[in-house]
């Protein structure tokens, strides 16, 4: 395995560069995935059947908490990658841990939010609108959940193996993933919640 020391650690082998490019292309596909979900949501938004409308079920507080927590976690993972570039393993691990904790809080609030929807009669089966809403949010939430496990595995690996080209590469790619989820959330926040509450 040839290691190119002129590059940052995560880019330092050919395979690492392939992994990063491949992941960017994957994110392109993810943009289409969420784009399609948004298209579906916008089409079905007004088709509430006998069920509630967006304005009737959205609550601002949990959404603001979720937004705040996820945006912060995106910042902390950025700090984590910065620490990684400086070679400060412990700082990096701490930031990653904080990121995952924030992600966990996000997920907790989202579960609360889903339960709230259930209680006000907006279940998965209620209408086309609720199905589109819960599928869009659920897909994002599932991504976060998967990310929590993935991040945990990476923390364990960095802890055990140290900062190698491989672990640095994985951490960097994970950070791309996490930032991407944050970007998706910004769209969800603006075009689903804010638009729905107005």
């Amino acid at each position: 395995m040839k290691i190119d020391h002129s590059q940052p650690l995560e880019y330092s082998t050919h395979q690492n560069q392939l992994n990063i490019l491949g992941f960017w292309i994957f994110l392109g596909a993810e943009i289409m995935l969420f784009g399609t979900l948004f298209m579906g949501y916008f089409t079905l938004e007004g088709r509430t059947g006998a069920g509630p409308t967006p304005a009737q079920i959205f609550e601002i507080t949990p959404v603001l908490i979720e937004t705040f927590v996820l945006l912060t976690s995106s910042f902390t993972i950025g700090l984590g990658i910065h620490a990684m570039r400086l070679g400060r393993k412990n700082a990096m691990l701490s930031f990653f841990a904080i990121t995952l904790l924030l992600g966990l809080v996000f997920l907790g609030v989202e579960i609360y939010e889903f339960m709230h929807y259930y209680h006000v009669g907006a279940t998965y089966q209620t209408s086309a609108f609720t199905a589109a809403l819960l599928t869009t949010l659920g897909t994002h939430g599932a991504h976060v959940t998967l990310g929590l496990f993935w991040g945990l595995f990476i923390i364990l690996q960095v802890k055990k193996r140290g900062l190698t080209p491989q672990t640095a590469n994985k951490s960097f790619i994970f950070s791309l993933y996490w930032h991407f989820l944050d970007v998706v959330w910004i769209f969800i926040f603006s075009f689903i919640y804010l638009k729905g509450m107005m």
Partner: protein, 295 residues
């Protein structure tokens, strides 16, 4: 190669003989919309045959001239990157053809999507054509009549079909009067047709809708306005009124023969309220849309 072309041309002749027995339905129009479509089709067949023949000729000439057996053993083909002018021609000619056809296509779109030309000053006859597995229900709201699986229409008068479905997506099609359009459960689509000549035409659901699809047909009889009025009169005298119970019975999956009723199901089971424009404008109205979905 020769064998192939001999074979192909004999095939073509065979097909033409077969097809020649009777004019093809789509190309034998009996109304203005169908005539427009038939002329579009013939025009495009003409232009397209020209293209196919051109490509075929170039191909045959090249294959014949540059086949290896026609050339000396030491012949070494040249390296040719491309030529600006040839390429401009290869792009230019198709662009012109496509531009012309696009123009024709757009023009025809507006023609078939509006009331048929020729009898604009006549009041259109509005017929609600709704499908259920595997039947067609035709409601004449102004005449107060409903038929099943057959359609009587006056000639020389615009026909406005309002299409929707009590089940899967179907497609209302009377080839000799004009092209088809979908009937769907949650909105009403409009199809403009017209008939020039009295006669019997076949109509069918063209969109696959399950087990009974093949037999999902109906008969169309075009007649003069006077005869049509007489028929309306006769129905009012003889037919039973359509009740809600009876209509629910009719909606059960299966095939029925032709039936006639007075009154229409629109009175107790109105057509969906959406049209295509509402939906694209993303109607935020939360009205109950399911009460007429029939299951």
């Amino acid at each position: 190669m020769k064998k192939k072309w001999a074979f192909l041309s004999s095939m073509l002749a065979f097909v033409l003989v077969l097809a020649g027995c009777e004019p093809l339905m789509v190309l034998d129009p009996k109304g203005p919309q169908a005539a427009q479509q038939a002329s579009d089709i013939m025009l495009s067949i003409g232009i397209m045959s020209f293209i196919v023949i051109a490509v075929l000729t170039i191909l045959v000439v090249i294959l014949f001239k540059y086949r290896a057996s026609n050339q000396p053993d030491d012949y070494e083909p040249p390296h040719i990157e491309g030529n600006k002018w040839v390429e401009a021609l290869c792009i230019g000619i198709p662009v012109l053809i496509v531009a012309f056809l696009s123009f024709m296509s757009v023009k025809s779109n507006y023609i078939v999507e509006s009331a048929p030309v020729g009898y604009e000053n006549e009041e259109p006859l509005v017929v609600y054509a709704s499908s259920s597995n595997w039947k067609w229900h035709f409601s004449y709201p102004e005449e107060g009549i409903e038929t099943v699986n057959y359609l009587y229409i006056p000639t020389d008068r615009p026909l406005e079909f309002k299409l929707y479905s009590f089940g899967p997506i179907t497609s209302f099609w009377i080839p000799q009067l004009g092209g088809q359009k979908y009937a769907m459960a949650d909105m009403v689509t409009t199809l403009h047709l017209g008939a020039d000549e009295p006669g019997e035409y076949v109509g069918r659901n063209a969109n696959f809708s399950g087990k009974g699809f093949a037999e999902n047909t109906f008969n169309v009889t075009a007649m003069s306005q006077t005869e049509f009025d007489e028929w309306v009169q006769e129905v009012h005298e003889k037919a039973e009124p359509l009740t809600e119970e009876k209509f629910d019975e009719l909606l059960e999956p299966g095939h029925l023969g032709q039936m006639t009723f007075t009154g229409t199901h629109l009175e107790f089971s109105p057509a969906p309220e959406h049209t295509h424009n509402d939906v694209s404008e993303e109607g935020n109205d939360s009205e109950e849309e399911s009460d007429h979905s029939g299951h």
